[in-house]
Amino acid sequence: MRRILPIFCTLLLVGCASVEALRAVPKGSHTGAHLRNPLQLFQTAQEELGVTGEYQTTDFDPLRFLTTWNFNNLPPEERAKVYTEKRLADGKKLREYRFSIEDREIEVAPGLFYPAWTYNGQVPGPTIRATEGDTVRIHFTNTGTKPHTMHFHGFHAAAMDGSAPEHLVLPGVTFTYEFTAGPFGTHLYHCHSYPVSHHIARGLYGAFIIDPRNDTRPKPDREFVMVMNGFDTDFDGENDIYAVNTRAFAYAKSPIPVRVGEKMRIHLSNLLEFDLLNSFHLHANFFDLYRTGTRREPDAFTDILSMAQGERAILETQFSSPGMYMFHAHVGEFSELGWMGMFHVTE
């Protein structure tokens, strides 16, 4: 027995080692049975860029977000709880909103969730839209766990700035922001609690559109709200996912349907944190660019636009022939990490 044991143990060890070794050996060809020639190989490999799987949650609809403002996506009873408008004496309106904070997990890529801080449960927050001269009144209740604020890029009094330490709205407290909407243009709002970079990165931002009082501009057939953003899912100070309207490759998976000849007006803003510059590029077409949307004449006619954080613009264009047209950041890394979408143009 004493002689057999060492030999047995050695054989067992060698046996296990060889089984393990054989398992680790790569098989001859992994290239898949369905691929035959090298060209097919190349084509298939290039096509594999993108996200794996489908979005699992339906609490946020990127296509619906494009055309949602003043909570018009809600049924009337629900909508009345968060938004009311009242006509005032001089033809202007008083628009009252109820905003709150919700800490929730949002899906930023299929199967990938980010612990966001949100206005009213969505990232980007609800789009606010008013006409120049309207009174905007927002009852902001901080139902979150940290002090938050709302800071608007638009005219307002210093006390409504939402940026100083005394403006911080503590958890459980309600503060009412009130100001006269102006100037006309495409603006935005975000949390200005500290550190601002973190509060923005966590998802506390949204679009804020002010239409001119006497709007002589030709009315567009389609209007879209696009907020460029990104998410640092591993909290290392760099974005891991980039997107327009939060969900990576959302409009690549579900292209935006448009008709040939439809005048499109895109309200575009950049709320990307950590990266100095973002950009917007449209394929096969050029757009009239109204920086910040505050002038009645376009500033440029181009197919690419660079934006720093907090910048926004109105882009107006129309497609003249049907097909699929890509739009994306012209920063390769951003577009390949999710900031890419498609317009599906039909007759």
Partner: protein
């Protein structure tokens, strides 16, 4: 044999003993159940992100295709949501599923147009946004088991391991003609060579530990390997004691074999290192590398024959012994290269490097023990020290030739 008389007192004390053991197990079980249900003071119920630790031990490159071996080294299940290759989200398939329980392995397949020679960065993003990263320095077609690669690795092992050791054996006649007084100096030289080899192997094992997933406890693999080798060799020499007794030439022969064994295992580790380095494109098998290794390993052959100068008077039987030792020392290089090239596993690598270290140190200590003859201070004679330093220097110098 008669049993002690049965008494109620004894019965009671035995029962009490077992009863207490059973009670302790019951209490542990009860506490565990309570803990799982209610949590101890709520301290562990904090809303912290889960501890996730995925590692990618191996990346396999085939044309337009990359395969990742993935291992869950952490305490919680991990679901891989997305994969990013060189800062682009990339579609993947994962077997068996995208969720890996702790200590389970999986495979991720990607069709990716990688470029030979370029670095590749891989990031796996879990459902919770936690990232597992692996950077490949050089993308290189992974050798598959075919005639070309088999021949390459075996020749490599032959050139780097077997031939230099056998050539080192040729030093034997010259060494034998040296004066008897120089024998202990020769032993000191051997000890120097072996000491260098031992620490070299250990250092390689230490650097390899970082590639071993934490669950496998690389440090313990290394230490365990060292002890395993020392114990095994100790058992072997213990068994051989009744053969050897005090006969000098038989003991020298035994040493030769033991040294050859230790060097053989060390060379297995070296072969693993070379084979795996080639498989990931880290080394070009240039002439300079091979020549460097040959010179470096020549000294290993010298280390084997140095203590043999008092072994025997020569003859064909002795030459057969020498050849056997040479093959024992050099042969495992071939096995190691094959293993490292085809089936690289950092776990096996660290284990074998540990065993190699232990084997070498065991033999080194054996020789020192004999040289000392009970008086350890006598080891530090001028000739011994010079011999030891010369051995270190030889190894260190030839190490410069092995640039990698």
């Amino acid at each position: 044999m008669s049993f002690p008389p049965f008494s109620i007192g004894r019965f009671y004390s035995v029962m009490r003993g077992w009863g207490l053991v059973f009670l302790s197990l019951l209490l542990i079980g009860g506490m565990t159940a309570l803990f799982l249900r209610h949590g101890l003071l709520g301290v562990f119920e904090a809303d912290v992100p889960p501890v996730e630790r995925l590692v990618i031990p191996r990346v396999i490159f085939t044309p337009e295709h990359v395969t990742l071996q993935v291992f869950n080294d952490g305490p919680e299940s991990v679901t891989v949501a997305q994969v990013v290759v060189n800062e682009a989200l990339w579609r993947f398939t994962m077997t068996p599923t995208t969720t890996l329980p702790p200590l389970h392995s999986g495979r991720i397949e990607l069709f990716y147009p990688w470029t030979e020679g370029d670095p590749l960065s891989l990031r796996l993003i879990s459902r919770n946004g936690i990232v597992a990263e692996r950077d490949v320095d050089i993308a290189f077609l992974t050798p598959t088991v075919d005639a070309l690669h088999l021949r390459t690795f075996m020749l490599l092992g032959l050139y780097v391991g077997v031939i230099p050791v056998l050539l080192g054996l040729l030093w034997f006649p010259m060494l034998r003609r040296m004066r008897r007084e120089f024998y202990s100096h020769l032993l000191a030289l051997t000890v120097g060579l072996l000491a260098f080899l031992g620490f070299d192997t250990f250092a390689e094992g230490l650097t390899l530990i970082s590639d071993v997933p934490g669950a496998f406890n690389g440090e313990m693999l290394l230490v365990g390997g060292i002890f395993l080798a020392i114990i095994s060799l100790g058992v072997v020499s213990h068994r051989m004691e009744h053969l050897v007794v005090e006969e000098e030439h038989l003991r020298s022969l035994a040493w030769g074999y033991l040294i050859a064994l230790g060097i053989g295992i060390h060379n297995l580790g070296e072969g693993l290192a070379i084979g795996s380095a080639y498989a990931i494109g880290e080394i070009a098998l240039g002439g300079s590398l091979v020549i460097g290794f040959m010179l470096h390993n020549l000294t290993e052959g010298v280390a084997i024959v140095a203590p043999l100068t008092r072994a025997s008077s020569g003859g064909i039987r002795f030459v057969r012994h020498l050849l056997a030792m040479g093959l024992l020392a050099g042969g495992p290089t071939i096995i190691g290269t094959l293993l490292g090239g085809f089936a690289y596993s950092p776990v096996l690598g660290v284990l074998f490097l540990g065993i190699g270290t232990g084997a070498i140190f065991d033999v080194t200590f054996d020789i020192l023990h004999h040289m000392a003859g009970g008086r350890w201070k006598s080891l530090f004679s001028g000739g011994n020290v010079l011999g030891f330093l010369l051995g270190l220097l030889l190894m260190y110098g030839t190490g410069f030739l092995v640039l990698r």
